[in-house]
Structure formats: structure tokens, C-alpha cells
Symmetry: C2
């Protein structure tokens, strides 16, 4: 999509993700090996009374689903002969919050909403999209959110 196609208030569900104990342990063993993320017995004795997912894991799944969503959109548009604006990387995030632990068996629904869209003054042909990413659990509680910015190609 191009910058011109994003509008404040747009909201998209990116997909669901089911966290298993195996998944939680595999991710955390590589990236965040704290006992309550990788050792079910140690996790039982912790403040959390059981295994919880690394916050990096919760966040990484958002990124993954977001990229997959954009790739599917690009493929659909390519099939119709339509161009797709490029995305640049993100210059940063603010206020990334994990408000409730993610446990084995939890199914999170990930989404994103558009907050603000403006042209970049420093990069002609590009704009900056301000968005809020989030995840809710199976009880419809929001348990993760952050505010992000990303460069998006404009048509003009």
C-alpha cells in the first residue's frame, strides 16, 4: 500500500497466534533465557507461578504477522497488476507495554491501528505512518501494545 491509502482510524487484525510451552521455551532459550521463560519448574516457584512468554516473543510475533500481512497484500495486488508501496524500517517505538503475562495455551489476536500519516520532509517520495500495535488474549483483554513509526512510500 502507498502512504495515500492509510488513514487515521484504520484498524486491521493481523492474525492469531497460539503460544505453546515448547514455543515459549524455544524462543526464550535463544533470546531471553530467564528461568521463568525457559524452566517450567523454576517458573512455578517464581512470582508468576508458571511459565510465561518472553515479552520479546510477544512482540516478535506482532512483527512477523505484520510482515506476513503486508506480503499477502502485495501478492494479491501483484496478481491484479497493481503496484505496492514499499515500507522502510521503523525509526523507533515508544511505550511498549506488556500488561499481563502470556502463558502456554493463550491465543493472542494481533492488530494495528493507524494514528497519523504525514509526508517526510527529509525523504522525498516517502511519508511516516504513526501506528499503534496491540495484542488481545482469548478473554479479549489487551495485554500488549506499543506506538510505532514506519516509513511508507508515497505515490507522488
Amino acid at each position: 500500500m502507498f502512504l495515500e491509502e492509510f488513514h487515521p482510524g484504520d484498524r486491521v487484525i493481523l492474525g492469531n497466534y497460539h503460544f505453546t510451552a515448547e514455543d515459549i521455551i524455544t524462543f526464550a532459550s535463544a533470546h531471553d533465557p530467564q528461568p521463568f521463560h525457559i524452566d517450567p519448574e523454576a517458573a512455578k516457584r517464581s512470582h508468576f507461578k508458571g511459565l510465561i512468554a518472553s515479552g520479546w516473543h510477544t512482540a516478535a510475533i506482532w512483527m512477523r504477522l505484520n510482515v506476513e500481512y503486508m506480503q499477502e497484500l502485495a501478492a494479491m495486488r501483484a496478481a491484479k497488476g497493481e503496484a505496492m508501496g514499499r515500507l522502510g524500517p521503523s525509526p523507533g517505538f515508544t511505550n511498549m507495554r506488556w500488561t499481563k503475562p502470556v502463558r502456554p495455551g493463550d491465543v493472542l489476536t494481533y492488530g494495528v491501528e493507524v494514528l497519523e500519516v504525514r509526508r517526510s520532509e527529509r525523504r522525498p517520495g516517502w511519508g511516516i505512518l504513526h501506528h499503534r500495535g496491540f495484542a488481545t488474549n482469548q478473554d479479549n483483554e489487551e495485554i500488549f501494545s506499543f506506538f510505532g513509526k514506519v516509513f511508507v512510500e508515497s505515490r507522488g
Copy 2:
């Protein structure tokens, strides 16, 4: 370490990390498969004129080095028969910024500084440590930083 041992202004170098093209591609293929992170040829044609590391990768290495540093400290203290305060997970980050791309061959130095230390009102026996994590490149430019909070066990 216990809450009482952290003081505003403390600064620790967590370690160095050498980013290779292979590493950048492997991480991004799993977590952030955008062309400029996983495809050297597509990356050459992008705004960046070459492969750059996913920002999640830059951040994940900070987390990994931080956990390893704490584990080494715990092992040293255990060897001397000293107790080690437990760390809880992070309730959130603010202002995570990537100010310059990380490219193959770059060697980043990661560190952390203590900003504020206070007792938790909601969790007796624990406190909250406010810190700033950062990474500088081989030219001593700071290219990554964020503000974080983490629960730390107190002695009292």
C-alpha cells in the same frame, strides 16, 4: 544483585557483538523477513544500498547480553556464597530508537545505565529499576537506545 545495590548513574558495559551477513539474514528470516534484511541483492536496490540488521535483532542482542551478564554475576556471587536478588520481567519500554543502520561487519558495544531506583508499592520486597539500554558502533556513535523498567528483588 539486590535493589539496594543499584544507584542512579551506574553504567555497565554488557559486551560486544559482531554482526555478520549470515547472522543478520538468519535472525530476520525467522522474525522480520523484509527484503533489506534478508536479501543482499534486493537490499542493494533499497534506500539503504545494502543489507541492514533488523532493529529487533539489534534489540534482542542487548537482551541476550544483559541476561548473560546477570547470569555471570550470579555465578560469581554463588561461588563466594553470596545471595543474588532475583529480576522480574519488564513491564515495558519507552522510546526505543534505532538511529543508524547496523550493517554486516559492524561491531556493537552494548551497555546499560541506571536512571532511577525505587521500591514497588504493589509488590512488597521488590523495587523498580529504571534504566537506559544502548549500543554504540565501532566509530563510537550511539545507534540504539531505549528506556526500560524492570522489577528487582530488594534485601529488605
